[in-house]
Every structure is written in structure tokens, then in C-alpha cells.
């Protein structure tokens, strides 16, 4: 191959790699929480009986997820520049809104999968609607969609790399900075590839472990 490896420059720039890693993790967590919140709200609307709610859910899901994530990020960063959101927030908003559409579809499927008799039975026991949702319906839906949520979260970790285009100092951005400094192109990108593989694997394992336990406490 005739290529001489030199990993010293990477070690020399380890602070940059680590800070990029930290920001990737932070961005992924914020983005995932936002996506889950949007997904639960819109997914619940999509599974509702009221037609206007369902129409709203369909419009949100189709309107948002058929536009590239990159445009969502640029829209907040360039389009709504008058409100001057920090770049990190623009990327987090873009990730939340975009992945939220996918999460909404998951929640809708999960919620409609819970048999209607269960909420009827719970209502017959005198439970309020909100209590039924929180204690009976959501925990089952969460468990049902846990594997899909795991792949959604690993997708989100990978997608966070697009925040580099608006100069958020996450892994891909720092890789560019180190590459421009050292020209050790292969070593730089090999390093961040391994880090992404680790992050993706760990995050989906975490979700698979955590999500099914949601609501278990409330079962007492």
C-alpha cells in the first residue's frame, strides 16, 4: 500500500477528539429527548379518535420527515437567523423535529397496538383518562417499540454528525479541524469511525435496557 501510518498527530490532538466526542454525546441526548417528547405528543395525536388530531399528526409526520435533516438544521441556522439561536440549539432543534416525526410513527403504531378493551376495562375501574394513558397504555407501547426506538437512537447519533455544517464542534467537525491541521486524513477518519461505532452500539444497548423499564415503577 505504501502508506505510512502515523497516529501520533491524533494522540497529540486527543483533547479535540474528546471534546468532539462530548459534544456529540450531548447533542445526541438533547436531540433524543426532544424527539421522544415530540414523538409521544404527535404519536398520541395520531392514535387519537378525533379526526383533526389524526390529520395534524399525518401532516406533521409527512411534512417533516420528507425534508432532509440538513435542510432542517439550515432552516434554523440560516432561515430563522433573526432569532439568533446558538448553533448547538439549531442542530438540536433540527434533530428533535426531524427524528420526532419518525418517533411519532413508532408511538402511533405502539399505541394502536394496545387492545382497546384494556382502556375500556381501566375506565370501568374508574381510572381517569390521563391515568389510564400513563399507567396502562404508554408502558405497553414503550415496551412494544423498544427495538425500533433503539435503532432510532443510533440513527440519531449518526445524524448528529450533520451539525458539523453549522460549526458545532462535534466529532465530525473536530475531525475536519484535525485533518486540516495534520493532513493525517486516514488516521483521523478511522479514529472517529471507531468512536461512532462504539457510540451507536452503546446507545442502542442502553435504549433496549432502559425503555422496557419505563412505567414499571408505576406498577409498584
Amino acid at each position: 500500500m505504501g502508506y505510512r501510518f502515523d497516529w501520533n498527530p491524533i494522540w497529540h490532538h486527543r483533547d479535540q477528539v474528546l471534546s468532539g466526542l462530548a459534544i456529540t454525546i450531548a447533542l445526541s441526548i438533547v436531540g433524543l429527548l426532544g424527539a421522544l417528547a415530540i414523538g409521544m405528543a404527535v404519536g398520541t395525536a395520531g392514535a387519537a379518535r378525533a379526526r383533526p388530531l389524526r390529520v395534524f399528526a399525518v401532516l406533521y409526520v409527512e411534512g417533516v420527515r420528507n425534508v432532509p435533516l440538513l435542510l432542517h438544521i439550515y432552516l434554523w441556522f440560516l432561515g430563522f437567523s433573526a432569532i439568533q439561536l446558538p448553533a448547538f440549539l439549531c442542530a438540536a432543534l433540527g434533530l428533535s423535529i426531524y427524528s420526532g416525526a419518525y418517533a411519532a410513527e413508532l408511538f402511533r403504531t405502539g399505541l394502536t397496538g394496545v387492545p382497546a378493551q384494556q382502556s375500556e376495562a381501566a375506565a370501568a375501574l374508574g381510572l381517569r383518562r390521563w391515568t389510564i394513558l400513563r399507567k396502562v397504555i404508554y408502558p405497553q407501547a414503550f415496551r412494544a417499540i423498544a427495538p425500533s426506538l433503539a435503532s432510532l437512537s443510533s440513527q440519531l447519533v449518526k445524524d448528529s454528525s450533520l451539525a458539523s455544517v453549522v460549526a458545532v464542534g462535534e466529532l465530525a467537525y473536530e475531525a475536519g479541524a484535525i485533518d486540516a491541521d495534520t493532513f493525517r486524513t486516514f488516521e483521523v477518519y478511522a479514529t472517529i469511525t471507531v468512536l461512532y461505532l462504539l457510540l451507536v452500539t452503546i446507545s442502542s444497548h442502553l435504549i433496549l435496557r432502559l425503555v422496557p423499564t419505563v412505567g414499571e415503577r408505576s406498577h409498584g
Binding site: A87, A167, Y173, G176, A180, D181, F183, T185
Partner: protein, 268 residues
């Protein structure tokens, strides 16, 4: 037997898909021969950096760097194809063979000489600051705590970090993004090469150049390490342009004025 045949065929399919791009490069690059064989020069230029390389009103690439490389293509005797690069991608794209030469307002530095080769310097600029007209910033001393936009992967980024260590510097991936950051008020100042900032200021009222020249930035055309044939071709082109007076005309067109630094012409 039949099964093995089937599987072998199946496993070869990816190789066929990938085949065209895995042509091995020679160990000692002679891009001029390769360019002639290919029939076109792949030229790396920026498209967001007026007046060196940018899109004009009709969205065609134009600029000083492009005209220099057009002359190089004419010397070699092939048509030219422009490939967009940014400060971050220009050297990797050169090394990976995506382009044969790069003229992308790139400062000729000793550090970069370790990785690529340079032609003679074809332009000498300097770094300065662009700020909104109403700004109180008058020079690097006033940058403490201010947000400064710059391009990632440039000498400019290193210089400003050294000159204004207390400034809050954000390095953007390309000039467009850095310039928009200033224009949108996300940054208090944009630092860059004088001619480039003049280009932005000329097209947009409301901004002024302050602080004088912070550094001297000689620009060179980049080619792969050891690609002497390409370097000779570029140097010969630059010297011919200078000797014939064409260089002065290009300079007048793009910068308005006479060249500040001559191009050295070697005896025949």
C-alpha cells in the same frame, strides 16, 4: 459444483460495481501526462471566495484563481474542469486525486510544504478584519471577548488565535458560512484575506475593513508531492502571464490596481 459457481459469481458483483474507481495511481505522480491522457485538467477552486473563486451573477464560476488555472490548462493544451473545494477539503482532495491542481486562495506555508508542493507565489495578500459599520472594533486589540468568524483549516485561523487569544473564535467550514455568520450578526468580526473581505464589503453596504494588515499571506498553486511536471507547467504559465502583461490585466480586472508583488521570471 454448481452451487460454488453461483456463489462465486454472486460475490464478484460488488467488485464489478467498484471496479472503475480502483484504478491504481502511480507512485511518482506525473499529472501532466495523466491530464493529457485524460483530456482535461481537474482544477480545484473555491466558489464562495470573491474575487478569487466565486459564482458570478449568472451562477457561473469566475475569479482570479480560475483565470490563472485556465491559463495552466491552455499551457498543457487540454480543457479545464473546475471542482469545488473548501479550505478544509482542498489538500485532501488534491492528495486523493480528485483534482490535479488547487488554486484556492491558499497561503504557501512551510508546514504545507511537508504534504504538497507549491508553485511560485502568484499573489500576495494579508489578513485583516471586516466588521459592521457601527462596530467599535478598530483592530485585533479590540477583539477580547468578541465573537470572531474565520474559516476552518486556514493560516488565518491560526493567526487570529495567536493574535487575539481572548477572542471567541468560531471556525466555519467555508467562507460562505463565515461571511453569513457576520452578516447575520452571529459574529462581531470576520477575519480573512484583505482582497476577499474587500470583495464582500464591495457587494454589501454596512461593513468596513479595520485593523490594517495582520500578516503577509503569499498564495501558491498546490500540486501533489513530487509532481514536478505539473509544478513546471504552472510556473512556466505564471511567468509567461507576467512577461506578456496578461497577469497585470487579470490583476486589474479582479483587484483594481497594479500588482503589488512581481512574479519572479526565470531566465530562458
Amino acid at each position: 459444483m454448481k452451487r460454488r459457481y453461483f456463489l462465486t459469481l454472486a460475490s464478484l458483483a460488488p467488485a464489478f460495481v467498484l471496479w472503475p474507481v480502483f484504478a491504481r495511481a502511480d507512485d511518482v505522480p506525473d499529472s501532466v501526462a495523466a491530464v493529457k491522457a485524460r483530456g482535461k485538467l481537474l482544477a480545484g477552486v473555491k466558489m464562495d471566495t470573491p474575487p478569487f473563486g466565486f459564482l458570478n451573477e449568472s451562477n457561473e464560476p469566475a475569479g482570479f484563481d480560475l483565470d490563472i488555472l485556465r491559463a495552466v490548462a491552455a499551457t498543457i493544451g487540454v480543457p479545464i474542469e473546475f471542482v469545488r473545494v473548501t479550505s478544509v477539503t482542498r489538500i485532501p482532495l488534491l492528495l486523493s486525486g480528485n483534482v490535479d491542481v488547487v488554486a484556492a486562495s491558499m497561503t504557501h506555508t512551510r508546514e504545507r510544504e511537508h504534504t504538497i508542493d507549491f508553485s511560485e507565489d502568484y499573489y500576495t495578500g494579508g489578513q485583516t478584519l471586516l466588521v459592521p459599520k457601527a462596530s467599535a472594533i478598530t483592530g485585533v486589540d479590540g477583539l477580547d471577548g468578541k465573537r470572531v468568524a474565520v474559516q476552518q483549516g486556514t493560516t488565518l485561523a491560526k493567526n487570529i488565535a495567536a493574535l487575539a487569544p481572548k477572542a471567541n473564535v468560531t471556525a466555519f467550514r467555508d467562507y460562505d458560512a463565515a461571511w453569513l455568520a457576520l452578516a447575520q450578526g452571529r459574529a462581531d468580526a470576520l477575519t480573512g484575506s484583505l482582497s476577499i473581505l474587500e470583495g464582500f464589503a464591495k457587494n454589501n453596504d454596512g461593513f468596513k475593513i479595520v485593523g490594517g494588515l495582520l500578516s503577509k499571506e503569499p498564495f501558491g498553486v498546490g500540486m501533489r508531492h513530487g509532481d514536478w511536471a505539473m509544478r513546471d507547467a504552472v510556473n512556466a504559465t505564471l511567468q509567461d502571464l507576467w512577461a506578456s502583461g496578461a497577469y497585470a490585466k487579470l490583476y486589474q480586472t479582479w483587484f483594481g490596481g497594479a500588482p503589488s508583488e512581481p512574479i519572479e521570471v526565470y531566465p530562458q
